[in-house]
Subunit: 361 residues, 2 copies
DNA sequence: CATAGTCGTGAAACCGGTTGCACAGAACTC
DNA sequence: GAGTTCTGTGCAACCGGTTTCACGACTATG
């Protein structure tokens, strides 16, 4: 037996039925299929329900229908502003569409991701996986069991939302070139995410096309500290500008530069990505807007739309990131026409060693 | 009728029972009360379950027992770093204790808060309300229905976790005084939260005790922009240092000061609160660490511990914020011994107009 | 006016677990 | 060796909804 919520407080469908003088089926229909009933009946039931404070029990409904009315959002790190913005957009959209949202933080680990997916599976109608770290096979397994929408991972056959920042990075490289920068750095993360690879490649290609020298650096982790720590190496490379994988790293670079008395944008230009904290740094950071909240919203829409057509259509939804120019980018220091002629022999990105490591793409 | 998960994929208790040659009750007990069974039986059932990939359906279990195995976390703004850090701590702790976490963002509105509480009530065993904006009565109502733990709101009779930053602010005022500052500003938020009031009061009292002049400002919203916008008024007040209600506001002030060529900490000192983004600003911000993650963890522990003793004991758990001194605080500009004697006639905070507005405390 | 079709409602089965109670067999007691 | 207690398992009711099906009343049809 089970005594759940204290009896007098939470009325059940039976109590409403008795009070309204109808059957439980009718009460149920008054809420889920009112079109099957006489308007008068619906009215009466609703009135009684309101008076009693009755709300259909979502758990019972879920058991009976198999639809939970919940979705789960799995992210690698809630603390990362990209993901917190994404969560915000996703949760709001889910709420708007009548779904409640579970949140799971995987702490960047593959194992936790798998555990969370397993534990939540029965309670949700589908998952949004943001930048998942698992291998494709596992994700495919889960997608076979429950509808899954992936953000920022390009897996054929799985519906996905991709924030395409490549164009933004290309444009940013163009901006730097037009400002006279001849050697630029790209500061990414080592265990590469799809996003990192995409950005790195865009910078490499755009640099090559414009005849710039591109030096690549891998921060240990995409964090403020990592960015700050790598500044010396970046400066030694002779770069006069850097593009970072995200705003956190860019901000770290900015701090490190200030420590060394290098002024931004006077002596060095910086470009970040995500555009969440970019407006709050000093100087405000030129950044590629990744439309995080929109990505969250879109993923939720894709998921919920797909719920009716059980395996959801394997859409590939691309959001174009846009360059937002602020105050961290400026003319290259001491640029002279003569310097411009000195084309480096080797252009383009350093070798792309992380393209086929299994977890990225 | 209800066809839920595709039949062959998700085995039910009946299938396991049949396969193992026992009753459904026995399978149930093998998982929830193994002590009631012969070890051999438990073993056999577990073996079959494992082979079939059976996992007890949490929804059915919840309906039957009235315990959902879920909690909900309601915050005013996921984007705020204080709350995202808190969510992270809370979710991790809930997971560790076997609970899944719903997340709700109320967008700082009272109404949404109420709606979310209502919608999630059946699905969760309890709520953590972070800095709730609702009036006390409503919160008490909800607490009567479902266990509730509140963070940063001091409501008698409701278990709560309070981050006590008063001591930290007092210490910070002492620091500023010792650095020779004689007029200091407190920049808070208008529709005051409990935290804001607490901090404002601490600054006022500490200032009065040390013979400092304290000027108070209310930013329209506790945000970067608001902080930046209020800089002119702060400077006009003659203050040489400011304490902000949180790091975001402090960072905004810092940006605004830089815009006006006022250097930090050379010309002006700044103190923030929360200590999440404080380490990432430039210069790094002196801030009061609010132990956000710990607050989340503690609240979850309090809630889950209290679940056994249904209305949970009305504990009042206080976490002491600690001052972390970084580089945004320095000696008052051009301080002279003579200036020190010029005691302002009126010391202490401006009138405290928001103490009894109903939603704060 | 008999017959077929429509419509609104109720009875009952079902979702997948949990648990009170009954009962059979084993283990004690005297 | 009969009576008592203990232990492990099954039966069946229950949680609170949804949904199939049957049925009676009412309306349209010829």
């Amino acid at each position: 037996m089970a005594r759940r919520q204290s009896d007098p407080l939470t009325p059940t469908i039976s109590r409403v039925a008795a009070e309204a003088g109808v059957s439980r089926a009718t009460v149920s229909r008054a809420f889920s299929h009112p079109d099957l009933l006489t308007p008068a009946t619906v009215e009466k039931v609703r009135e009684v329900a309101l008076r009693l404070g009755y709300v259909p029990n979502q758990v019972a409904r879920a058991l009976s229908t198999g639809r939970a009315g919940n979705i789960a959002l799995i992210v690698p790190d809630i603390g990362n502003s990209f993901f917190s913005a994404l969560i915000r957009g996703a949760q709001a959209q889910a709420h708007k569409r009548g779904y409640a949202t579970f949140i799971g933080d995987t702490d960047e680990t593959e194992a936790l991701e798998d555990v969370l997916l397993g534990k939540l599976a029965v309670q949700v109608d589908g998952f949004v996986l943001a930048s998942p770290r698992q291998d494709e096979k596992r994700i495919r397994d889960h997608a076979g069991r429950r509808p899954v929408v992936v953000i920022n991972r390009d897996i054929e056959g799985i519906p996905r939302v991709l924030v395409d920042t490549a164009a933004g990075f290309t444009e940013a490289v163009g901006l730097l070139a037009s400002l006279g920068h001849r050697t630029i750095a790209y500061v990414g993360a080592p265990k590469s995410s799809w996003s990192n690879q995409q950005r790195m490649r865009a910078v490499g290609e755009a640099g090559a096309a414009l005849g710039l020298k591109v030096v690549r650096f891998d921060a240990v982790r995409p964090s403020h500290e990592a960015g700050r720590a790598i500044v010396d190496r970046v400066l030694r490379s002779g770069a006069t500008a850097a593009l970072a994988v995200d705003d956190g790293v860019a901000q770290g670079l900015m701090a490190g530069l200030s420590d060394r008395g290098v002024s931004v944008p006077g002596d060095f230009s910086l470009v970040g990505c995500d555009n969440i904290i970019a407006a709050t740094t000093y100087p405000p950071l030129t950044s590629i807007d990744a439309f995080c909240a929109e990505a969250g919203r879109t993923a939720v829409d894709l998921l919920i739309d797909g719920l009716v057509t059980h395996p959801p259509p394997p859409d590939r939804h691309v959001i174009r990131g846009e360059l937002t120019i602020r105050a961290s980018t400026g003319p290259a220091p001491g640029r002279r026409a003569g310097k411009k002629s000195r084309r480096p022999a080797e252009t383009g990105a350093a070798e792309d060693h992380s393209t086929s490591d299994g977890i990225s793409r």
